[in-house]
């Protein structure tokens, strides 16, 4: 019998999950379940289990839609945001949460990501960013750092990596944030904020892939990779209290950009209403 959280929100007949030992995806999936549980249990929040839809694409990360016990749909590669857009349009009352990977959302589905961000479509996108295509055997992805090794870059990757949170923000996302698998409490809080945000919200969660990315790049075990996150990814309050020179090479965990642009389905409904009146 697993913990109450897992029992309530996961399909336990599908567990234990299939991910490798030490893979960060399990932690991120639990963060999502914990964030949803805290919102549902809070009487001041208007979040209802039946209104939550989990949408995923293809890749290691995207198996999460099969494990989480909500209305869920496991779609095609890169198209999770496209399916989610359709679901949100059909019923704007739903809380549509997209679980995707770095390759799924920034390469194969890169266009869907930037245009959903540009439109400010009311979706929550959680990117499980493990810096590699794990499921297909360790090919480099758009977030593999330059110089790092992958099965398709045996002498080192020449490409510069995307910063998915900044990419979404640059494309117009009204909420863009970064989380990781070491800072669990902070990441759960960020995901809660993202789910409650009305417009397009993206959380780029740094996962760890000890099997393909870590092993090929001599990053050590999952524990070593988490220690790296502990030292180099810094929660907001501490980050801004650090002297400038100490911030070099470190990244912020928290909300990176936020604004209150109007949400797409609401604007569309207004347009329909105005046109109907004229007629």
């Amino acid at each position: 019998m697993p913990s109450e959280l897992i029992h309530r929100y996961m399909r336990i007949d599908h567990l234990p999950q299939i991910w490798c030992p030490g893979c960060g995806n399990g932690t991120i999936m639990r963060d999502v379940a914990a964030a949803i549980q805290e919102l549902i249990d809070d009487p001041e929040k208007d979040i209802n289990r039946d209104n939550i839809v989990i949408v995923s694409g293809i890749g290691c990360s995207s198996r999460a839609a099969g494990y989480l016990d909500f209305n869920s749909i496991h779609t095609t590669h890169g198209r999770a945001i496209a399916f989610a857009t359709g679901i949100k349009f059909a019923n704007p009352k739903l809380n549509v949460i997209v679980l995707t990977g770095d390759g799924d959302c920034s390469a194969i589905g890169g266009n869907h990501l930037i245009h959903a961000a540009r439109r400010n479509m009311g979706l929550t996108v959680i990117a499980f960013n493990n810096n590699i295509y794990g499921m297909t055997g360790g090919q480099y992805s758009p977030t593999t750092p330059d110089g790092d090794v992958a099965t398709t870059a045996p002498f080192g990757n020449v490409d510069r990596p995307f910063d998915i949170a900044n990419l979404a923000s640059g494309a117009g996302a009204s909420f863009s944030a970064r989380g990781d698998v070491y800072h669990v409490r902070e990441t759960i809080d960020i995901i809660k904020e993202a789910i409650q945000h009305k417009g397009f919200s993206l959380v780029d969660v740094y996962s760890v892939c000890p099997t393909y990315y870590g092993r090929k790049n001599h990053k050590g075990s999952a524990v070593d990779m988490l220690r790296w996150q502990k030292e180099n990814l810094i929660p907001t309050a501490r980050y801004y209290s650090m002297p400038e020179e100490e911030r070099a090479g470190k990244k912020l965990i928290g909300i990176l950009s936020y604004n209150d642009y109007p949400e797409y389905t609401e604007e569309y409904a207004k347009l329909v209403k105005a046109y109907r009146k004229k007629k």
């Binding site: 913990s3 897992i6 399990g26 932690t27 669990v184």
Partner: protein
């Protein structure tokens, strides 16, 4: 065991990654034969950090009042 919480280990779900062992603030856990075990020295303070970081949901606290 301190307090009203108890640590439970779901042996079959543990993949032996060692994350809970490494980040336990009291070093109360150890790996034996590729699975996590609670040491017998009574160091566990039921803080729940192992549960938060376990990617396999194999270690967690239960409230004993229930």
């Amino acid at each position: 065991m301190i307090g009203r919480k108890q640590l439970i280990i779901e042996d079959a779900w543990c993949k032996g990654c060692g994350i809970c062992v490494a980040f336990c603030p009291k070093q109360a856990l150890e790996l034996r034969d590729g699975k996590v075990h609670l040491k017998d020295d009574g160091q566990c303070i039921t803080c729940g950090l192992c549960e938060m970081r376990c990617p396999d949901y194999a270690i967690y606290l239960v409230n004993m009042e229930e």
